[in-house]
């Protein structure tokens, strides 16, 4: 059985003209138990709308969504679901973190001694012990997001939907949150569907990604697969000691880039056309003692997505 199953899911909103606006249109995908999947797309692509339909916040116009085989939005499905929204809070600002977690546990039918045990265990795991008695409003954003995560996991959900959980966090807080999500997921085998505009989140946590744009699925597969042809593309930046040193132009498989500067020569190669060892050897021969530094870059996921969305928008 799939943890998340989406079949022909659509959400349309009425507009002033007769044509409804489809935020999501005929979306299909399945996510297996314990999978960690990134749900990517530009603003307005329909990511949050899909997450909201999966959690029962929004009612689909047509199609079907299931969580652990149960209709999305049903009481039993919601019991199996944890939700983290980077832009919405489920904690109570004027109450202490402990009081908020206590009530949220009750909402998810976690009661009695088990409730206290879980709150204390998660507080320890997420390094929140000293904040348990603090009022939520006094926490920093990073601390609050860790509390939000605890609130989402307190009932040990089998599926976690995280909508931009690291939005607004600094690098340290972001890394910490990611690490905690990763540790939890590995330990509990929770199925995770993550949306984020920060692709470092995606690269750090996910193996598979689903790409949507204009409410429709564009890609569903591995992260390297998303790069397609670009996965073999490498960029090399050569720093030279003398500005008079001419770049290498005789080798057609090593392309000189037009944005090269006097001291930094930039090249592009495809590892499918020329092995990296050969490229480095050719460049070393050409530059000799003038070669000061060599840097190799892969194409970033951000660039891949940016290319995809820009090309689509221009088409």
């Amino acid at each position: 059985m799939h943890s998340i199953s989406v079949q022909q899911l659509s959400k349309a909103y009425p507009t002033r003209n007769k044509e409804p606006f489809f935020a999501v249109r005929d979306l299909n995908f399945d996510i297996g138990e314990g999978e960690v999947v990134a749900f990517l797309g530009p603003n307005g692509a329909g990511k949050s709308t899909t997450i909201k339909m999966l959690s029962g916040i929004l009612t689909p116009t047509s199609g079907e969504a299931r969580i652990i085989g149960l209709p999305a939005g049903s009481r039993d499905a919601n019991k199996q679901l944890g939700l983290v929204f980077g832009t919405r809070s489920q904690l109570y600002m004027h109450m202490t973190v402990y009081e908020s977690l206590d009530l949220i546990s009750e909402i998810y039918y976690v009661t009695g001694p088990e409730k206290k045990k879980r709150i204390l265990h998660l507080a320890e795991l997420f390094q929140l012990e000293k904040h348990l008695q603090a009022r939520t409003r006094t926490l920093s954003l990073g601390e609050r997001m860790r509390c939000e995560l605890v609130a989402a996991l307190i009932h040990k959900p089998r599926v976690l939907l995280a909508d931009e959980p690291t939005i607004g966090l600094d690098v340290v807080a972001k890394n910490k949150l990611r690490e905690l999500i990763r540790l939890w997921q590995q330990e509990e085998k929770t199925t995770l569907l993550l949306t984020s505009h920060d692709l470092s989140d995606v690269e750090a946590l996910c193996h598979r990604c689903i790409l949507i744009d204009h409410g429709q699925k564009q890609y569903d597969g591995s992260l390297p697969g998303l790069k397609g042809d670009l996965s073999t593309l490498r960029r090399l930046h050569i720093t030279v000691a003398e500005s008079e040193k001419k770049p290498l132009t005789q080798e057609i498989r090593i392309k000189l880039m037009p944005d090269s500067q006097d001291y930094v020569h930039k090249y592009e190669v495809r590892t499918s056309e020329i092995p990296m060892t050969e490229t480095i050897s050719r460049l070393s021969q050409h530059y000799g003692d003038t070669l000061q530094d060599l840097q190799i870059f892969e194409v970033s996921l951000e660039e891949v997505l940016s290319n995809r969305f820009t090309q689509k928008a221009l088409r």
Binding site: Y13, S48, K52, S55, G56, I57, L58, T59, G73, R75, D76, N78, K79, L81, L83, F85, T87, R88, S89, Q90, Y92, H94, M95, E99, L103, E106, I107, Y108, Y109, T111, R135, D163, E164
Partner: protein, 262 residues
Amino acid sequence: MRAANSFSFHLRNASFAFRESWTNLANGLVGFLLFPVFMFVLARMWQKFNGHLGNYTYKEMLAYIGVTEILFMTFLRTANINQASGDFSISLARPRSWLASQFSALYGKTLGSRLVMTIIFFPLLLLFGLGFLDSLEIVMRLLVLLIPLGILQGLYSLLFSSAHVRWEMTSYLTLPFSKLFLIFGGVFAPLSDFSESARKFLLLMPTSDLFFQPAYFCIKGIFYEMSATEWSLRILAQVVVLVTLNAVFFKNSRRYHQSFGG
């Protein structure tokens, strides 16, 4: 077993909201600094314009203004409705009845704020020269009524919370509605002082059960031209109608909920 679990949860939920409304006690107290000024000014005006009717003594006027102020200031408060539904998008995704959870939170919050105001009200009555026992009697009667009145206020507010689910913005709705209750409910001006035709009409309105009748009961010990049983039955009828309206309206709102803002 499931019903008992639900009931126990909603009690906890109400108690949580109740405690939440007390976390900002200092803020609440500052907010009601003008409470005695209102009582004084409005009672003076009433005495000047309607005092000759002889239906109420000056001290009763002060107490009436105070009671209706407590009930009205905590009625359909946008902040409460928004707080209760502020994260309604998440609360819609929870395995508990949204209507029941919202209602218990609104009920707890209303009861909490009204108790804060009642605590301020008691010494004010003494300050304005009412005897200790008279003041205590008024406050005790009010405390008894706060429980059923909280249910009604909770159900009215719940309609606005459902409207929030439907339209996201409801502040423009709560203001005119609360003004209607202010006018027809006899807030600051008892319906018993109105002309006969207006009085007869306004006493039939459900608004009178929320403000005029409770305030009248607090100062006189009886309801105006009706028995306690009749008033209770009217409250019960309103509860039934409001529960039905809420169920229908929420079901409808739920379908159109858009959850803006990512």
